[in-house]
Symmetry: C2
Subunit: 87 residues, 2 copies
Amino acid sequence: MKFQASIDIMPLPALLDPQGKAVSSNMKNIGLATIGNVRIGKHITLEVEAANQAEAEDQVRMACEKLLANQIMEQFEFRVEALEAVA
Amino acid sequence: MKFQASIDIMPLPALLDPQGKAVSSNMKNIGLATIGNVRIGKHITLEVEAANQAEAEDQVRMACEKLLANQIMEQFEFRVEALEAVA
């Protein structure tokens, strides 16, 4: 059974996010001074083949911990949805 | 009134995503051959000061179009939530 995972990886709240800071301070240059506190991270979508939802979530968690996120500096959250049901 | 926006910016489906391809092919090296079709984009959170939800959404859309997303290569979607109510 195929599942689609959608993962958000963001810099930890305690850490500075220089890229987000730069974007924040540029918002006023394009006439959007109402926007602030911008933080920029990664959004990842992937497909995983697994027997059930719990197994798919385990695979995605492992992928995040081993490869996708740097847990010293980033936190991740994800949701997993079934793409298609088997007959 | 303050709103929190959460934006996903992803490479257009028709375009190759070399970064995602590289991650896909590395999944099997860490024992996760069940994972494939990885696509990597940006996740952005920001705060916006606006009179109401519709106005906040307009500001966020403008920020995406003018600064955050490159619409030749990327598509964006976002959701806006009220952070706090005014008395």
